[in-house]
């Protein structure tokens, strides 16, 4: 769907099998070139990020000359009520839309994976669409929709929109998990005397929990990172953090932006680490 959305949670279900060919390990010219390109690409990906983080500690107001270490930009950050407001908005929107899309998306995945019904393929296609279409289209269509129904733009419109684009990702993640789910476990529980609700509570839910947590992390990240859609459906007093950052960048680069970007980078880092650790633990089972 979008530029800043991790569409694929890849490899999380597959156990890593070492199938490396012996010959591939031998140092050859091809391998040397491969390593060189790989290292260059990693550098390309990381140097701008690292430089940005470094300069968030630079005491120079303008320019790219190092003038000494400072924490003053962070200090200003945490004393700027507009930033704190935007961060709070982001957090509220992300938490509420994560909770809603995890519930809605999981229920839908259950229905789609476990039953056969009419127009199922239509729903399947419809659930894929928000993932595929560019977020700019989703942003403006929601803008037009809210204008048409005269719903004032604010936190409500933000949450509605975020659920609309997070939910399909939850759905797809949970559907993959449910496809792997061994249904004989539920039958075994019922066979041992557990009714439907007890089976769900004692067996299904605990076993789906890793999937639910990782899809929640995905939804949370998507919501927290979204700029384009939020940009179109946000109101005057309900700016999210990315929308606020965008406004600041448009007004010119300041060290505060570097600092707030660094904070967001750290947040992403924490979220990735969490989901990575979760995957490692799940695949270790």
């Amino acid at each position: 769907m979008s530029t800043d959305t991790p569409i694929v949670l890849l490899g999380e279900r597959e156990a890593v099998r070492p199938r490396v060919r012996e010959a591939a390990q031998r140092p050859t010219l091809g391998r040397f070139v491969l390593t060189l390109i790989a290292l260059f690409t990693f550098a390309f990906l990381y140097v701008p990020i690292v430089v940005l983080v470094l300069f968030s500690f630079n005491s120079a107001r303008t320019g790219a000359v190092w003038q000494g270490f400072t924490l003053q930009w962070y200090e200003r950050l945490f004393n700027n009520p507009r930033i704190l407001d935007a961060a709070l908005n982001s957090l509220i929107v992300a938490l509420v839309s994560t909770a809603a899309s995890v519930v809605i998306g999981t229920l839908m995945a259950m229905a789609m994976e476990r039953y056969r019904f009419r127009f199922q393929s239509v729903w399947d296609g419809l659930l894929y669409m928000p993932v595929i279409i560019p977020e700019i289209v989703m942003g403006i269509s929601l803008l037009l929709f809210f204008a048409a129904i005269r719903l004032e733009r604010g936190l409500i419109t933000l949450i509605i929109s975020h659920v609309a684009f997070c939910m399909p990702f939850v759905y797809l993640t949970m559907r993959a998990r449910l496809a792997d789910f061994d249904r004989s476990l539920e039958e075994a529980a019922q066979d041992l005397g557990a009714d439907e609700w007890t089976t769900f509570r004692r067996i299904t839910l605990p076993l789906l929990m890793p999937g639910i947590v990782s899809s929640a992390l995905l939804a949370f990240t998507l919501s927290l990172d979204d700029f384009v859609i939020s940009f179109f459906v946000t109101g005057v007093g309900s700016q999210t953090l990315p929308v606020y950052i965008w406004g600041q960048i448009r007004r010119g680069i300041t060290p505060e932006i570097n600092a707030i970007s660094t904070v967001m980078l750290i947040l992403s880092f924490v979220l990735v680490s969490l989901s990575h650790a979760l995957q490692q633990r799940t695949s270790a089972r």
């Binding site: 979008s2 800043d4 991790p6 694929v8 490899g11 597959e14 890593v16 070492p18 199938r19 490396v20 060919r21 790989a38 690409t41 990693f42 390309f44 990906l45 990381y46 990020i49 430089v51 940005l52 300069f55 303008t62 320019g63 790219a64 809605i104 839908m108 229905a111 039953y115 729903w123 659930l127 669409m129 928000p130 595929i132 279409i133 560019p134 700019i136 289209v137 989703m138 403006i140 269509s141 037009l144 929709f145 609309a164 939910m167 990702f169 759905y171 009714d195 439907e196 990172d225 384009v228 990315p242 950052i245 960048i249 680069i253 932006i257 967001m264 980078l265 992403s268 990735v272 990575h276």
Partner: protein, 306 residues
């Protein structure tokens, strides 16, 4: 109630589907429909939609087309056969998006291959290193790149310190191309890596054993087997590229116009909602074609895009 739900699976389906279906229909399909309707409306003095219905918005896109083949350099080699204001925009968008997809692939494939051949311990580390930019805020990452390439950014500062002339890096078509590749690299590496990681290398040995040289083993055995990852990565790169707004603005300064950016313009700088809706619909058609191609080629094989 439990009894009723147990007896009637259709009731269970309805109960499970209801919230999601409601949300999708009301907050996804309805907005798109409204957008479609508005694309056939006229604009009032402020640029907002108003009756009567008209095809004008679509006609504007195809108006004044001339046959004028040309070659130029805009962030990459640019070939044109026809000329026309919005046709140029569409063609440039598709062309540059394809080009950026190809460039991204050229960088991502060696990385994915390199990663897939690492010993297991390092492989997880490398995967983690790709996951971080994958999950990191796109705006922040693009901003970081803009910061690097600015007129008085670190690169030019370094050049000046070395007594070299500064480079005009930012706000050029090339900067947009670099931005697209930079932004979308993780979306290409990950699906490719997933396919390659599952690839059974003894297949290549089998191909060599049967007399295929490296190139033919690659094209006849490896490529078909990793094509799901290849196609998924390409879609994940192409779609955001053609719809890109942040990159076009931050890296190109709005000077290299792509359709996604142009659409946004109709809703902010120059207000023309009906025309913006029409452009958005055209872009959806392009993206849908790409998506259909994806599902075609991924049919029968395992989908990598979740």
């Amino acid at each position: 109630m439990m009894q009723a739900l147990r007896e009637h699976p259709s009731l269970r389906v309805a109960a499970l589907m209801a919230p999601g279906a409601f949300w999708l229909l009301l907050f996804f399909l309805a907005p798109l429909t409204i957008m479609g309707v508005i694309s056939f409306l006229s604009r009032d003095a402020q640029g907002f939609p108003t009756p009567p219905y008209t095809l004008e918005n679509y006609l504007t896109i195809v108006r004044d087309i001339r046959f004028a083949p040309s070659l130029s350099f805009e962030g990459g080699l640019h070939v044109r056969l026809f000329e026309g204001l919005y046709l140029d925009l569409l063609w440039r968008s598709i062309w540059l998006s394809l080009l950026s997809t190809l460039l991204t692939l050229l960088l991502a494939f060696p990385v994915a291959l390199f990663m897939a051949q690492l010993p297991r311990r390092y492989r997880n580390l490398a995967l983690f290193a790709v996951m971080i930019p994958f999950w990191t805020n796109f705006l922040v990452r693009t901003y970081a790149l803009q910061f690097m390439l600015r007129a008085n950014g670190p690169i030019n500062t370094l050049l000046r310190a070395l007594g070299l002339p500064p480079l005009e890096l930012i706000f050029t078509p090339t900067a947009v191309m670099i931005g697209l590749v930079y932004g979308n690299l993780p979306f290409m590496i990950l699906p490719l890596y997933t396919s390659l990681e599952k690839f059974d290398w003894t297949m290549m040995e089998a191909a060599h054993d049967l007399g295929a040289d490296t190139w033919r083993a690659f094209t006849r055995v490896m490529l078909p087997l990793i094509s799901p990852g290849l196609v998924a990565g390409s879609i994940l790169t192409f779609v955001p590229a053609i719809g890109s707004y942040i990159t076009v603005d931050l890296m190109g300064g709005g000077r290299t116009n792509l359709i996604g950016y142009s659409i946004a313009q109709q809703f902010s700088a120059s207000v023309n909602w009906p025309f913006g809706s029409a452009l958005a619909l055209v872009m959806m058609v392009i993206v849908t074609i790409a998506a259909v191609l994806y599902f075609r080629s991924a049919r029968g094989t395992q989908r990598v895009l979740i």
